[in-house]
Each structure stands twice: as structure tokens, then as C-alpha cells.
Amino acid sequence: MDVKAIKEVKLAPIRNGTVIDHIATGQALNVLKILGVNEYMDSTISVGIHVSSRKSAEWKDIVKIEDCELDQKTVDKIALIAPDATISIIRDYYVAEKFRVVLGDHVTGLAKCCNPNCITNKNEPIETEFAVISRRPTKLRCSYCDRELCNISDNLL
């Protein structure tokens, strides 16, 4: 049997929905957390963990979510934990749109500061704000207390 054909069926194509590809390996479960996957969802979700990438020699994770298109805030959160991820919007089995997530210089309202004594954790009418101080790996610094965010995926809002 053709090896390539076997690879193709690992994650079945979807008719409508979103494919999040090139997720850094190990981050697929965090992506599911961002998507808010729970038992009340109507969509089918397929997850590929530690899948070999055709583009590079590295491994990656993939998430396919049926009948769902992502809002900008969700895409921005994915960029925090998977900065190389690509998002493909699938409509009737065709790729209607494809783009790469973008991590800006500042991140607003997407994560909470891990410093419990930071003013952003004290019920003030403000959104959290971080400066991106490193992109590989992603490192954020709180614009209020100047503390580096210790674990991004654990602190996503």
C-alpha cells in the first residue's frame, strides 16, 4: 500500500470547519483548551498529536474542528502557544482561506499575569497587557508589574 495514502487517512478531511496545522508538538491539548472543547459541543474534533510534517523534518500537532470558524481572539491566543500555526478555513472540502497566526508586539486581554500581587489581578477595570520580549520561545512581560509570564498556557484567559 502507498505509505502516503496511509498518512492521509490519519486525520480524515472535513467538509466544513477549521484546520489548525503546524502546532508545536505537545500543544494540541492546550489548543483544545483555548477552543473551549467540552462535552456540550456540537462539533466533531479530530486531534493529531506528534504527526510528521511534510514541510519540515520536525513533528507537529494538528487539530480539526468541524462546523466552526475561529474568532480573532481565539486565533491570537493560539499564536501565543503555537506561533507557527496555520489556520485553514474549510468550506465544502475546499480551503476557502488559509493564513498563519501572527504574534504582535503587545498582547492585550488574552492572558492573566502570574504574579498574584500584580494590580491586574485585583479587580481593577483594566485589561491585562504584555510586551512580547522573545518570539522563539515566546516570552511575555507584564506591562504593569514588569514580571515575566511564567507559564503562558496555564494563564490564558
Binding site: 499575569c113 500581587n117 494590580i119 481593577e124 477595570p125 507584564c142 508589574c145 514588569d146 515575566e148
Partner: protein, 309 residues
């Protein structure tokens, strides 16, 4: 250097040139700070001195600085005396106080409080210490004292000793000193060493600090010995506190190894880190340092509120 209407939240907001211009202006302020000369250049201005955490030197020296320049002061000294105790947010308190004064000075127990205040206030905000975070005016007066004692800040050999983990003054000071090419030696018990984040930050700026637990190893080369208090309140377990308290006690015996012109500084209050016998020595600069809070804060008030001396 234009400081008019500017917030001073963190020492990271200032360049070396800006710091030097404030230190130069502070020098000019000394005779006014002692009362030798009189100038009421800020007459008609009101300073809102908000201290939501205990403070002696910072609060009094801001008040003194304001009065010496003819500026009026309204103040809050306790959180329990404000609407914050009724559940009001700091943001609302700031918006309200902002309407009553021309400049806000804020000391607050939470890190980032001054940044929040600066975002909500139309008038400028000076951070007078936010939790374990920044205390930029302390850093400026520390630099001013060092420059006064040593003639220049360039390439000084500075030994920071004591609680380098929780002591907020040493974090900002270490960052500022790297702008002047200082050689830093960090002397602390392992449990109270400078946080890696700060060490990495100063390394990025080209400083290669030396870490040690032994004061004896470092003292003989020091131009400045900056001592901090090991704070009892930071230790949940009193036994842990006892283990490290009194680790570094500066007395005349320890100072035998020091250079004759080494300056000893301390942000105060001290408990027993520096023996009283040191107070009368040429090394002791910590009371001068406490006084210097006045001319440095006068310089900032003048520069921000647009008063010219």
C-alpha cells in the same frame, strides 16, 4: 531634557542622559533643600501624596520637597481612611484625586499600581514604590548619593549585600547601575539571591555580575557597599528568618578589609545590618542618602511641573 508632564513609573523608562540631567538638577537643589536658599517656584501647585503603605522617608521627603518649593500637599496615609476600604477601585480613586491636584505621588502595596495610576490620571504620576516592584525615586537618590561620594558613576565597583530577592530598591538600582558600566557583586544567602529575571536583564545590558555568599571575598575591592535589610515579614517561617537574619553585619572589624574611601549606603530602616559604631566613620553615607531624597525629589517635582530654578 524635557520632563514636563511626564510620569516616572519605572527606572526602565529613563535613559542614562535623562538620569544624569535629573542628578544635575538635584545638585542645584541642595541649598534649597537645606533651607540655605529659598525659592517658591511651584507656588499655586498641589501635590497629591497617596501612601497606601507605611513609609517614613519617602513620604516625608516628598512633602518636604514640595513645601521647599512652595507647592501645597494633600495626602492620604492609610487605605482605611479612603473609599478603597469601601470597595472603591484604585482606578476610581486616582480619577478622583487627579481632579484635586497637579501631580500624584503613589505608594501602593500592589505591583503595577503606579502604571495603572498613570494610565487613568491626566496629571503626571510618580511611583513612590509599588509592592515588591519599582521605586524609581529611591534609585535616583541612590545614584545621586553615589555620585556625590565617588565623584562619578562610571565603572564603579558596587557590592550589593543582604536581601537581594525581595528588596525592591536593589533591583532597580542594579538595572540603573548597568547603564553606567558598573561592576556588580551580589552578596546574599542562596535563598535571597537576586532573581534570575533581573540578573538576565542586566546581563543583556552588558553587565556580568558576580554572585557570592561571602562578604569578605568582595569587600576589599568595593567602591560602594550597598546594604539592605533582611525583611522578617517576607518569611512565613520564623525559623527560616532566623537562619539568614544577621548573616551580614557590618561593623568596624569587617571594615578593616575595606578601602578607606568605600561608601556604605542603606535605604533604611536598618535593624542590625550596620552596627551603630559605623555611623561615625567616613564610610557611612546612609543618613546623607536619606537627606538626598529631598533635593532629588525637588528636582523631579520641578522638572515635571515646569518650575525653573
Amino acid at each position: 531634557m524635557d520632563f514636563y508632564d511626564r510620569d516616572v513609573v519605572s527606572i526602565r523608562d529613563l535613559t542614562r542622559e535623562e538620569i544624569e540631567s535629573i542628578l544635575d538638577l538635584s545638585e542645584k537643589m541642595v541649598p534649597y533643600a537645606t533651607g540655605e536658599k529659598v525659592n517658591r517656584v511651584l507656588h499655586g501647585k498641589i501635590l497629591g501624596n497617596l501612601f497606601f503603605e507605611p513609609s517614613t522617608r519617602t513620604k516625608l521627603s516628598f512633602e518636604s520637597a514640595a513645601y521647599r518649593l512652595g507647592c501645597d500637599v494633600i495626602d492620604v496615609s492609610e487605605m482605611s481612611m479612603t473609599s478603597i476600604s469601601k470597595g472603591e477601585t484604585l482606578a476610581d480613586t486616582i480619577r478622583m484625586v487627579d481632579a484635586y491636584c497637579d501631580l500624584i505621588v503613589l505608594r501602593h502595596p500592589y505591583e503595577g499600581a503606579a502604571r495603572l495610576a498613570a494610565n487613568f490620571s491626566i496629571n503626571p504620576v510618580i511611583n513612590a514604590g509599588d509592592g515588591a516592584g519599582s521605586h524609581p525615586t529611591q534609585t535616583l537618590l541612590d545614584l545621586f548619593t553615589m555620585r556625590q561620594a565617588k565623584g562619578s558613576l562610571d565603572g564603579l565597583n558596587v557590592v550589593l549585600v543582604g536581601d537581594l530577592k525581595y528588596g525592591r530598591t536593589v533591583h532597580s538600582l542594579a538595572e540603573a547601575l548597568t547603564m553606567f558600566g558598573a561592576k556588580l557583586t551580589l552578596v546574599a544567602p542562596d535563598s535571597l539571591q537576586m532573581p534570575e529575571e533581573i540578573v538576565n536583564h542586566i546581563k543583556e545590558k552588558g553587565c556580568r555580575p558576580t554572585k557570592t555568599t561571602s562578604l569578605e571575598e568582595a569587600i576589599d575591592k568595593a567602591d560602594v557597599l550597598y546594604v539592605t535589610r533582611i525583611q522578617r515579614e517576607r518569611f512565613p517561617d520564623p525559623a527560616e528568618y532566623k537562619k539568614v537574619a544577621g548573616t551580614y553585619r557590618i561593623n568596624n572589624t569587617v571594615l578593616r578589609e575595606a578601602r578607606r574611601d568605600m561608601a556604605i549606603m542603606h535605604p533604611l530602616p536598618r535593624i542590625d545590618e550596620i552596627a551603630p559604631e559605623v555611623d561615625s566613620s567616613e564610610h557611612a553615607k546612609y543618613f546623607q542618602q536619606a537627606f538626598n531624597g529631598v533635593p532629588v525629589r525637588m528636582a523631579l517635582l520641578c522638572a515635571i511641573l515646569g518650575g525653573e530654578i
